[in-house]
């Protein structure tokens, strides 16, 4: 098994003024996703939603600036760390990951254990 990160990029505006119902729907979608990963033979090792980019602080060298590292329409809003057999398996899982306001990026985790 290989570890991959699923990075969720979405338009923040869609969450900024979301109603409690909309939040509930999103949470349920992620709950379902967690179940589907197991059904597909993968495993979620971790993950979280992030607060909006308005809370972000970036540092380049010694310069600290307000805001995310890159200003884009679709911002990193959350991630999962998963375990999958290969890229096709990871992609099959990532296709189910809820990201109605954008999409997801799949990246293999670099093994730095030196083994």
């Amino acid at each position: 098994m290989t570890q991959y990160v699923i990075l969720i990029y979405e338009n923040e505006a869609s969450y900024a003024d979301a109603s409690p119902d909309a939040w509930q729907t999103a949470m349920e979608a992620h709950g379902r996703f967690a179940g589907q990963v197991g059904e597909l033979g993968g495993k979620i090792l971790g993950g979280d939603a992030l607060q909006s980019t308005a809370t972000a602080t970036s540092i380049r060298g010694d310069v600290v600036t307000d805001g995310p590292f890159a200003e884009t329409k679709e911002a990193l809003g959350g991630f999962y760390l998963i375990e999958a057999r290969d890229l096709d398996h990871a992609l099959a899982i990532a296709k189910l990951c809820p990201a109605p306001g954008g999409g997801v990026e799949v990246r293999p985790v670099l093994d730095t254990s030196g083994g």
Binding site: D86, D88, R107
Partner: protein, 450 residues
Amino acid sequence: MTDDAVSAAVADAHRREWAFVLAATARVTRDIDLAEECVQDAYVAALDAWSRQGIPRSPGAWLTTTARRRALDALRRDRTLRSKLPLLIEPDLPSAGSGADGPGDLAGPGGGPGLGGTALGGTGPGGSTAGGQAEDDVIPDDRLRLVFTCCHPALAREAQVALTLRLVCGLTTAEIAQAFLVSEPTMAARVTRAKKKISAARIAYRVPGAAELPDRLDAVLTVVHLLYTTGHTAPAGDSLVRADLVDRAIGLARMIATLMPDEREVRGLLALLLLTDARRAARADAAGRLLLLEEQDRSCWDRAAIEEGTALVTGALRGGRPGRFALQAAIAALHAEAPSYRQTDWPQLLQLYGELLRAWPSPVVALNRAVVRAMVDGPEAALAEIAGLELDGRLAGYRYLPAAKADLLRRLGRRGEAAQAYQAALNLTDNSAERDFLARRLAEVAAAPE
């Protein structure tokens, strides 16, 4: 054995067997770079060995055995040679690798998809495969795995194309760079990056399962078709056709059709390439000037290719809704069978283009349908369709749109507008044969009075 005969046999084996040898060697090395190196060494070794011992009955098996033995030696000599992320190999499909003895079994069903050690296995097959016996080894055919790996959707299209030429066709990086008019370092970087992604992102060395197959096969066929069209009308330069790319593309389509005989779209693609290529000799005149379909000498068309292509189309159209390659082939077949341009079955063509547009809603198809529409309903009707496509905007910068429009305007005698459209097409065209054609037409409409 003369040196010439041996060189010819090695060159022939390179053209015919490279993909087979590399695909089977990659299974042992679990590292594409090492596999390539060993296969290249095997071809060099063949020059010497075959002139001493004669050309083996099965050059592919000889080369595979030699390449695999070299790979195992290299792996034993230096375990660090094995990449940290070995190529992911899944168990065989039932059709391949069954009961193979010799090196074929190394990473076969027994070895399984597990990571790590199975490639070495410690079974020492190198010793059992020396000499002439090698020819009798049954080696599973991994060429499809190689093709699907090279054309994986996680790789950019241009990387898919480059990898396919490099790994499946065995072209050198310099040759591929030349074919696509980029510098050799650029192409080398492209190939290296793609290979790195295969191992780092863990793209598996396998033929996709039934659920994924239609999409994945479409990507493979698109790459082969792109190779063909790149060769068929070189995007720039002096020669209209780059014969080597065209032949490689047809060879690939043939190979895939042999390995996947039940896939109708594969047959459709092979038919399309054969039927289009049948017109190769008639596409330009003695001076290298581009000739339109209506100007071509149909007696120069390759009848054998047309016959083979037509037979393939018939099969590809049967059994349910045909795919886009089968439909394009059917269109090419209809042209090929027509005794003359005038006697072409235009209403039938228009219907086929309608079906194609449904199977493949592309503005390029819509443009082609408009051109056929002109033959059925007149140039005015076609111009109206083209005006719609211009508004759509997706074909902005596509040279055949102003070229088609110019031709329709010319036929209607609207010379001023035609001249403008020819000029617009010229501004978008780099191929010199096509430029000459457009310039000729531009001069004609500019010279004649309104």
